[in-house]
């Protein structure tokens, strides 16, 4: 997946927030958080912004586009 994320790190930094707590605050299922963290599901732009805002960060600090054609 060309978009990497640091949601797991952000959760750890936010007093070790659990996946369920994050899911409840975002209004999504825990399975969706698991999928996002493992990089198997790319969230919508809206959800990505909400995740970043929840951790008080800019979206590019949480989600990073990796251009695999340049590597």
């Amino acid at each position: 997946m060309p978009v990497k994320n640091s949601v797991r790190r952000c959760r750890f930094d936010a007093d070790e927030m659990t996946q369920q707590q994050l899911a409840d605050r975002l209004g999504v299922s825990r399975q969706t958080i698991i999928s996002i963290e493992s990089g198997k599901y790319q969230p919508s732009l809206e959800l990505a912004f909400r995740i970043a805002a929840l951790f008080g960060k800019r979206i590019e600090e949480v989600f990073v586009f990796v251009d695999e054609s340049k590597t």
Partner: protein, 146 residues
């Protein structure tokens, strides 16, 4: 496993459990008598299949719904359903086109293809195949993204 994935499994299994025996039975009737199944027999079998599917799908779906009341439908579920329904639609259109083309081309060789009940059952088979692909894709996508 989330609620929506469980429901997709329930629907996939119920369709397979009901319609594989249903079409096997009709195929057996055609093979043994070499004529299309009578309208009465086909109708009774179809109504029986619908009632069986209502029970096989409804009871487990109700249990899953009661056990997982907190479960929410989020954007991932919607994306998976959208992808599955798109592929199912393509599958349905493809099956119908193959059926119409095949029936018109092969009718001189196989007179059965001119029978209304037989054509109706082939149409139902197209719907069943598209529903199987719909729930099959949902299950696959839930497995892939978890």
């Amino acid at each position: 496993m989330c609620t929506n994935e469980r429901l997709a499994w329930v629907c996939l299994v119920s369709i397979a459990v009901v319609y594989i025996p249903y079409f096997s039975f009709l195929t057996y009737l055609v093979q043994t008598s070499n004529v299309p199944p009578p309208l009465g027999v086909a109708t009774i079998a179809f109504v029986g299949a619908i009632i069986a599917q209502m029970f096989i799908t409804g009871i487990p779906a109700a249990i899953v719904g009661i056990l997982d009341r907190k479960q929410v439908t989020d954007e991932r579920d919607i994306a998976i359903r959208h992808k599955a329904s798109t592929l199912a639609y393509v599958c349905l259109i493809s099956c119908v086109l193959i059926l119409v083309t095949g029936a018109s081309l092969l009718r001189p060789m196989f007179p059965l293809l001119g029978d209304g009940v037989f054509i109706g059952q082939l149409g139902l088979l197209c719907v069943v195949i598209s529903e199987l692909s719909n729930y099959g894709v949902q299950v696959f996508e839930y497995r892939r993204t978890t």
